[in-house]
């Protein structure tokens, strides 16, 4: 007969491993979440400024991955220049799209701009299908995968170690660096302040000497460059890219943006990280078939109970 004492002991040991398992899953979730967050930031910035849900944003992320792929395979550039080039390319792409597709519709009904955004999304996907090919392609290995044990809990059954891979560190560090850089730009620079002013009252901003068109262009550039960065990071973390990869990722990032409160930058970061963790936890403790369902469950719950998002204040929309 096993006494109470040993049983207690095994229970607490079991509990410790459960905690370890949970922590490891949280690390997994943060990796995924930081990518969602980077995409969500672009959604939120653009929405904040022009009240447009830029459905082509997920495809800019896809283009970012392909740019990274092209540069890494053709020019053999290492990670950082590769990341930077993809960001610059996507920034230019974002500005071009804004100029050609959205600016002429600035005063058109919102449904027209939304339809255009969907059109741009399909165009980008099919351009890549046409010029590069419709198939999955392997993303080159920019880093040799390595894993580090950051915590070890002796021997026995169950998860005994907490492991972090260099890829996870790179993804997380890059994403966080970019987010803080963005936060610096928005909070501290004159352009950032102008963005916030434009987002608050376009006409007043104009009359304070702010070139609203230029600010909108810069916003698209910054948002798109973040999506481009996310594209390269996803190529490193999950080295398989295809022209349709932006659709679901874009949708989930959109949900993340709504979760945090559309137009609110820290909200998008938080929303992305929550989405990634929620998905991972569903996989860890539930069924894989609910993976995509969780994103849309979150969306419905937020829309029902806190439509302004977790970071948003419920104010009636300014017209």
């Amino acid at each position: 007969m096993a006494g109470g004492c040993p049983r207690h002991f095994t229970n607490s040991q079991q509990e410790g491993r459960e905690n370890l398992l949970f922590l490891q899953q949280l690390i997994n979730g943060l990796q995924l979440g930081s990518i969602y967050a980077l995409i969500a930031l672009g959604y939120t910035m653009v929405y904040g400024i022009v009240r447009l849900i830029n459905f082509a944003h997920g495809d800019i992320y896809m283009i970012g991955a392909y740019t990274g792929y092209m540069i890494a395979t053709r020019l053999n550039w290492p990670f950082l220049p590769c990341l930077f080039a993809a960001m610059v390319f996507c920034a230019v792409l974002g500005m071009t799209i804004e100029k050609i597709a959205y600016r002429p519709l600035r005063s058109a009904p919102r449904i027209a701009t939304l339809t255009t955004a969907i059109g741009v999304s399909l165009l980008l996907q099919n351009l890549v299908r046409y010029f590069i090919g419709p198939n999955y392609i392997p993303f080159p290995e920019l880093f040799k995968r390595q894993s580090y044990v950051i915590y070890s809990a002796g021997s026995g059954l169950g998860l005994r170690t907490l492991t972090v891979s260099n890829i996870q560190i790179i993804v997380l560090v890059t994403a966080l660096t970019l987010m803080f850089l963005l936060q610096f730009i928005v909070r501290k620079t004159k352009t950032g302040k102008a963005m916030r002013a434009v987002s608050f009252d376009k006409d007043a901003a104009r009359l304070m000497g702010i070139d609203v068109d230029r600010i909108i262009t810069i916003t698209f550039a910054i948002g798109s460059s973040l999506a481009g960065a996310a594209g390269v990071l996803v190529g490193i973390a999950y080295p398989r890219i295809d022209p349709g990869m932006g659709v679901l990722a874009g949708l989930k990032a959109f949900v993340a943006a709504v979760l945090g409160g559309v137009g609110i930058i820290p909200g998008a970061m938080f929303g992305g990280l929550v989405m990634g963790s929620a998905e991972t936890m569903v996989l860890a403790y539930g069924k894989s078939t609910y993976r995509d369902a969780i994103a849309f469950t979150i969306l419905i719950l937020i829309l029902l109970f806190k439509p302004a998002g977790l970071f948003g204040k419920s104010v009636s929309e300014k017209v």
Binding site: S147, T163, A237, S288
Partner: protein, 384 residues
Amino acid sequence: MKNVSIRIMALCLVLALIVSLVGCTKAPVQTTVKEIVIGVVAPMTGDVATFGKSTRQGVELAVKQINDKGGINGSTVVIKAEDDKNDPVEAANAALKLISKDKVIGIVGSVASKCTLAAAPIAQSNKIPLISGTSTNEKVTQVGDFIFRACFIDPFQGLVMAKFASENLKKTTAAVLFDIDNDYTKGLAEQFKLNFEKMGGKVLAYETYGKGDQDFNAQLTKIKSFGPEILFLPDYYNTVGLIAKQARAQGIKAIFLGGDGWDSEDLVKIGGDAIEGGYFSNHYSPDSTSPEAVSFRSAYEAAFKATPDALAALAYDAANILMEGIKQAKTTDGTAVRNAMAGLKNFKAVSGNVSFDSNRNPIKGAVILKVQGGKQVFEAVINP
């Protein structure tokens, strides 16, 4: 009143007779055509496009060799190929087009079971024999008696890998990670679990993911906590490559096993070092030493400047089985061709000698290949 209706019935009967006579007089015209058209349904684009390419090249080689020898009973064989994009709807459309527009006598294809399952009912209802090179799902030939395949079936691959894990590798614990949305990976996973446990092994974790997923860290962390010796990954190459990388990054040391979905050069491109040392079952190895296999390989290499993979070999076999049926039937009538195909005994094919069981599944052995130094190396043969 009664009289009138009898007269109308009689008239109808006469008309029907005339129509059938016209039909009869037309039939011999068909048998004397100089061209025999066979259809190919394969994914030329989409997520498994390399499968489609191999399949097409296999069929092309078989047809070319027949035509070089004077065709079938004096008629030249012509190929009509359709792209199904690895999409069941496209596959069904492709089959319908081949049958109604191109008037094919038989169809080779498709690659994935889900596509063949969509195309098969159309071939069946039109009484056109369809033979898939590689659709391993059990249900494919259950669609009807006109549906054949040149490969063994899913349960067999699950069993082969279970047998290999427990008898050759002498392992007792395993985990399974598979795509719940895909009948192919699901079938392999189920049979592996069933047979591995039957042979005394333990399946510690049985995890799933969805179509298009790229992040498997959550499931892998769970699997890692059980510390299995074997990780069975019965998916296609592009997903297996991703999983393998993430698993090794997490520090999972288990040996990776899988099915013929691994068979692509891209497996190593995506999986890199992580996939090294993995084993998978297949229908064919280019290193096979049978005379048919050796001559097939040299002809294929001469024609396409590439080493044939199993898909090419099986498509080659499937096309040859279909053409042998047409040859033996001495007619292009679907039913006669079907009967001839079903009656084949020990047909000398590249992937082994083929006889069909009552479900039109071939009875033959499987090879185990190892991923070593970025290449596929012949490891063993497992017999049922």
